[in-house]
Assembly symmetry: C2
Homo-oligomer: 294 residues x 2
């Protein structure tokens, strides 16, 4: 494949799951109409970002994979003939729930899934309560549009995750994500955070010589127990090329469907002039397996 037409969907969500999914599906159909072969949805696009509080009732939102939502999206993948990266709250067993991304092949089969490996926990993002850390490792998923290195949100801050996907042959890094501002933070702090989020993901493209797609949630979601002000999800979804250059980017406000053509031949060109994979000092990296060395 020389060129990949990719799309990402940046959307707001409400507590109406059917409406959220319907909105995602409408965007997938529009993306397909525009020629997209791959559509990336944001993290947990079927609902509100429920991790603002810890509430056992929220586990009711989890569903098996395959299950109703994956079946619905699989049908759309087949109908539109597109590969879809979706993000679901997976119920694996009573008491074991995951933040899982699934990849649907363009014939409606499940090409594979990735269970979020790095789980955050800080005020307003109580994910360690909800999500059991992934146990499928960093394995790319083979599809008709290439070998996809699918990671999720918090993973984006870890160069290790991007590198491991690359070493396993990923041709593209994909991050469904849900990140936003604390409305009480200063504008300067807010901008540092958003800029850091863009920068770290661009750096994965650079370090590994491959394109990156990041689809983020948008809009204000208040906390269900009014314990906090809520989260203002900052959108800014984007796609980069193999040198980290921005190919397309959504705004910080409002829903948006972005489509872009990615030149998949540039990976090898870029890795020839920037042969980082050749020069890694794997003889001296053992301490990467430690928590800290002091």
């Amino acid at each position: 494949m020389k060129t990949l037409k990719a799309a990402l969907v940046q959307q707001t969500c409400t507590n109406n799951k059917a409406e959220n999914l319907s909105k995602s599906i409408q965007a997938i159909r529009e993306a397909a109409r525009l020629g997209a072969q791959l559509v990336v949805l944001q993290e947990l696009h079927a609902g509100l970002y429920f991790c603002q509080t810890e509430d056992t009732c929220c586990f009711d939102q989890a569903e098996p994979i395959p299950g109703a939502s994956s079946d619905l999206l699989a049908a759309v993948a087949r109908e539109c003939g597109v590969v879809i990266v979706a993000s679901l709250f997976e119920r694996r067993a009573p008491g074991i729930y995951h933040n899982t991304a699934i990849v649907l092949e363009n014939d409606g089969t499940i090409a594979g899934k990735y269970r979020k490996m790095h789980i955050p926990d800080d005020p307003g993002f109580y994910e360690k309560f909800y999500f059991t850390p992934g146990d499928l490792g960093f394995a790319p998923i083979d599809t008709s549009v290439g070998r996809l290195g699918v990671l999720v949100c918090w993973d984006q801050w870890f160069p290790e995750a991007a590198r491991l996907m690359t070493l396993s042959g990923a041709e593209l890094l994909i991050y469904p994500t849900a990140i936003g501002w604390d409305p009480n933070d200063t504008p300067a702090e807010q901008e540092r955070q958003r800029d850091a989020w863009i920068t770290i993901q661009r750096s994965h493209a650079i370090a590994n010589g491959l394109p990156v797609i990041s689809a983020n949630r948008v809009g204000l979601e208040t906390s269900s127990d009014n314990s906090g002000t809520g989260i203002l999800f900052w959108g800014s979804s984007f796609v980069t090329g193999c040198q980290g250059e921005i190919l397309t980017q959504a705004g910080t406000e409002g829903e948006q469907l972005c489509t872009v053509e990615i030149d998949m031949t540039r990976c090898e060109d870029v890795r020839r002039i920037w042969p980082f994979l050749r020069d890694r000092r794997i003889d001296s990296y053992q301490d990467l397996l430690k928590r800290f060395c002091r």
Copy 2:
């Protein structure tokens, strides 16, 4: 230490070693006069970037450490009462030469040294011919201004190097570097390269929650055998805070001394809101020790 006043020196070089060193020393004295406690010099600041061609005569430029250049700079460190990060072509034994950064304590002693671990080799940057890969690992160097994670140039493209320094307790990452454009490249390609170089180093600050200082060479140096057009070193030396935010940056042209106050208390504040070191999946990182997994 709550605040660190740091300086970096971005300079042009000629084939006159004494003049190059004299220029560096003049800048160190000026930095000290402005209150700097730490001064970072660019990569191989004592001479031209000789790696544009492969010529055995260039090994004559290497010198032992301690040696004439380190003695000279040590005297300046003591005279000015500043910590200096210098970059020298080290002659360790006949046939073993390193690209070595030394850290001079403010009393003129050698606090430690780092031998460049990742060695590049591409047209115009024939470093694998000249530099034996470092064998001192990624060990920060303790000084009166903090524990310094000194790396060199090509290392900057490897998130592993930054992480390893962090895990060993580095409080600051420092990159003496010499990187520039092929004048034959298009302006768009040139800008992608410079932007990627800034982005990847900012990402090390973000991923690890510590400041980064990068001092780069500036100016056009033609290749000694006229085999190429030469390298237009792009300057753009900079300092970031713990969220990757740019604190100061030099231009792409001309010599420059940059000084900046770095708030060393922000590291812990930032790591509390972005606790990446807490969440690394060290149980699943084994493949980082492989060249490739396929």
